[in-house]
């Protein structure tokens, strides 16, 4: 009963960027031979050889980050999946008990594996198949919170209003991901251009928003219908199981280890999840409220999802966190609420628990 309760969060596309080069190598170094991490890396490499794909270990060891090599789906998707899984395998038992797993966007596939709904190889095949679908359309990201990461209802309404207005005029644009203080919007080229013209330009931190996510397709919209159909056809033999650990999907649905319908799980993963908005905000909110974790563990690679996570915590005013300052204060305290394994200092902290 006193064991620390952990919620694992698996990131989605865009998490493996230039700073993450060498991630696998570093992790492999600290893993024992024959460890789960080593076995998983080998399993992925073996499957990729069979499918004629580039080695992820080689990509990870590249001297320079190349968007054309590192970012396209067939490489980026499986790379992120593998990195997240490896991180999970390294979490010490002393850190606590995992009470739930969620993911952002393709992180859902990772969650399926880590939660035990699919075995590792099946999950890899799922990731590879879905990430290799011919890319259609694109995504862009735009914030709706203010500088302190607090909700700005007017800005939120403005952005959603812009999307609705364009839809009314027949534009092919949608809300792709609800990502804490951001919207990821998606559509075809003319839709995205129309959005860029209408959305206000804002500089926040290093970025000027809205900006396009390179090599991203219009995930989680009807535009990628073909990906869903391919998935249904190619993946009909996946061995779905009830998860060992509770999962929460991108519609806020909680899957119990004891009574999950695997048909529902499969349907959601290959249809609804592909074609409709992924609500990461809702997934995290449900996980916080219904699973009551003590500590959130953001799996690598990278740690960019940390911002969105903090923004959801602020919207929930979880543990009294109402602003960026509050969040930073609690992170600097004895009992941080989030540890991102993609950040060296927080990785060490987690290992030391």
């Amino acid at each position: 009963m006193t064991s620390r309760r952990l919620l694992l969060i698996a990131p989605g596309r865009g998490s493996y960027a230039a700073d993450e080069l060498g991630f696998l190598a570093r992790r492999l170094e600290m893993a024992e031979p024959g460890s789960t991490a080593a076995r998983w890396i080998e399993s992925v490499e073996e499957d990729r050889r069979a499918w004629g794909r580039v080695s992820l270990v080689d990509l990870d060891a590249a001297p320079r980050f190349s968007p054309a090599k590192h970012l396209p789906g067939p490489n980026a998707g499986p790379m992120i999946f593998l990195c997240s899984a490896v991180d999970q395998s390294l979490i010490p038992d002393s850190a606590g008990k995992t009470v739930g797993v969620i993911g952002n966007s393709m992180g859902w596939y990772t969650a399926l594996a880590l939660g035990g709904a699919l075995d590792f190889r099946d999950a890899h095949r799922l990731v590879d198949t879905m990430a290799s679908a011919p890319p259609v359309g694109g995504q862009l990201i735009v914030p709706w919170v203010n500088g302190e990461w607090c909700p700005d209802a007017d800005e939120e309404a403005r952005i959603l209003g812009t999307v609705s207005e364009l839809q009314r005029r027949g534009a092919r644009v949608w809300v792709s991901i609800r990502l804490g203080g951001y919207f990821v919007l998606a559509g075809d080229e003319s839709g995205l251009t129309a959005l860029e013209e209408r959305l206000p330009k804002r500089k926040v931190g290093r970025h000027t928003y809205p900006f396009r996510l390179a090599f991203h397709a219009a995930f989680h919209t009807p535009l990628v219908k073909e990906a869903s159909e391919r998935g249904l056809e190619a993946l009909s033999d996946l061995a779905w199981r009830r998860p060992r650990i509770p999962l929460v999907d991108g519609q806020g649905r909680l899957y119990s280890p004891f009574s999950t319908s695997v048909d529902l799980l499969e349907d959601y993963t290959l249809v609804d999840q592909v074609l409709s908005t992924f609500d990461f905000t809702l997934a995290l909110r449900m996980a916080l409220r219904e699973l009551q974790p003590d500590l959130l563990v953001l799996l690598g690679p990278g740690a960019t999802l940390g911002g969105a996570i903090a923004q959801v915590l602020i919207q929930e005013h979880w543990r009294g966190i109402r602003s960026k300052s509050d969040f930073q204060a609690i992170q600097g305290s004895e009992e941080p609420v989030l540890l991102s394994m993609g950040r060296a200092d927080q990785f060490d902290r987690l290992m030391g628990l």
């Binding site: 999907d249 649905r253 009574s259 449900m286 409220r289 219904e290 699973l291 009551q292 005013h317 009294g320």
Partner: protein, 751 residues
Amino acid sequence: MAVSRHHIIEKKFLEAVAAMEEIPVTPTARVMSLDRDLGVEIFESQLTSRVIDLEARAMKARDEGYYTIGSAGHEGNACVAAALAPDDICFLHYRSGAFMMQRAKAFPGVSQVFDTLLSLSASAEDPASGGRHKVWGSRRMNVPPQTSTIASHLPKAVGAAFAIGRRPILDLASLVDEESSLAPLSEGMIAMASLGDASMNHSTALGAINAASWATHQRLPMPLLLVCEDNQVGISVKTPTGWIESQYASRRNLSYFRADGLDLANAYTVARSAVDFVRERRRPALLHLKMVRLMGHAGSDVELTYRTEEEIEVVESRDPLVQSARLVVRSGWMRPREILDLYDELKARAARGAAEARRRPKLVTAEEVMAPLAPFDADAVAAVASSAASPERRVRLFGGDARLPERSARPRHMAMLLNWGLHDIMAQHDEVILFGEDVAKKGGVYHVTHNLYEKFGLARVFNTLLDEQTILGVAIGAAHLGHIPCPEIQYLAYLVHAVDQIRGEAASLQFFSNMAFQNPMVVRVASLAYQRGFGGHFHNDNGFGFLREIPGLILACPSRGDDAVGMLRTAFAAAKASGRVVVFMEPIALYMTKDLHEAGDGQWSFAYPEPGRYVPVGEPRVYEAETEEALTIMTYGNGVRMSLRVARRLAADGVGVRVVDLRWLLPLSREVVLGEAARARALLVVDEGRETGGVGEEILAVVAEYGPAGLPVARVAGRDSFIPLAEAANLVLVSEEQIAEGVRRVLEKKR
């Protein structure tokens, strides 16, 4: 000394599970009919509910929780939830924790466990009521919160079922006209309500069951499922053995289903049959589920004062959670160890959830508390009140341009003008339905609803049975389904026994649901005294104090026909645009009154207000004095005409009297009262109601507290008496002589 049974119950459960053999027994046929995943899902809902019940008691012990009426023993109602569809509207009693846990599984993103903990801690963030009550309610899940406890939610469940059943006819009718403003309903939707065995004795339950049966007897669709969760006791009073069965097992217009609510498989199977029956046959059914009540009535209830320890132990030995666990283990669905681990996990979630819920904000100011009480979007109300049906529609309705009521050559009395006004309103707002006793072909006992049935048809204008509770219940239920109901109450005196449907149900819904639900309606009531037709108290009741203390109610009382139409338009606008409950008191004695001072002068007949003309809430009508004003009379209803007659006579003596017709009695506009008091030389309040509890009291209080110092004030009111027959009635009612006397009295004070 209170012995906490809940620890004992928990211990017994855990011990029973630990002792269960792991070897599954071959499942019996009845269990095999239950899908494994569904069976376990229901079991998890039951476990979750029980854990929350225990946490609620722990919260109370820590002074963090405010409610301990639990659902323990009633976990079988999770099976009912599993059998229903997400779109079915559900009116639940208070032991519905397991029902809600199971229901939430059909709505991804609803955090029912945490929401319940917020509710238990009276948190301002509680989504059901914003901290105003511990209720089971959810807009998203189609569960209107029940503040009632006992059975006063049954009339509206009947009303909802009735409105659901009615919809196909309405949809057909609207195909002929324009697009319907009513949102489409799910195919096969039903209404459901649950209550206990003791509550089945309440008059509201019996009235509702009678109404449902009456409709069914006439083959009107009544897709209603009543669930009697029979735990054989009501607080400390046992229900006689076999009572429910004896009353309901063989009624002709209410089908009876019975199941062991402690047996998950049986309860689900029978619940499914009952739900399917109601859905397919559109006939009402009673599902009688045997339950037990564990942990007493509430945390404060010491069962040993009325039950022996042996009796308590027998009840506890039937714990449905133990029975469900046994089913789950024997079917090979879960191992005992897994159940115990899951139980621990659920407890950990509940304990931490309670701690997080405690930190969330509470209601801290009166303004916050009262914010959802009486919403009023003045602009939206004005927009609706000032609009009208299209000219084409009106011409068709009234049978030609020359026959439009505003073109009528001569002025008319109130009943005629109201009749035209109702025509216009029903033509403009197709969600309005009008019903009551004798309103259809007969056109109402005062002909106010004459011809509406012919013009708008049975779907929208219909008679009800003789029961005001049912009439109002139909109104409330229909409002839940998108209608703006216009129930007619034949006489004010008949409203009283049913007023809880307004006071405790309709008018309180916005408040207790924190605006998630609203209950718009315009209740028309033939009211007050002085009428020449039907004598006696019940046709001449002048007491409406019982309405005045209902928070959020709008109470309108026109004194003349054109005001009546203008105010009626506003009443419907307030209902439509701000979800308000309006009681529209129509003075019976003024329905047919045409003259003011002399017979035949026609001065109390008026022209029909042009479409779009309306009387804003709170606005009075002021009749200025013919000569310099010596005093102001503040009055309403019958008092207006009487005061004008007295004023005319006094004017002949050079005494100028200004008469202020308040028109809107709730909310009583302080601004108007004090504004008139400020410019008055003396003030006489003429209140045709009874002295005690009358509007006059409020006016005097406001003037005394905030009015100009030294203003001479007097009051004339009816006696605190019931109204006798014939001429004797005049002895206890306000008369013109008394008004004149009152004028003299207040002018005396001036000197």
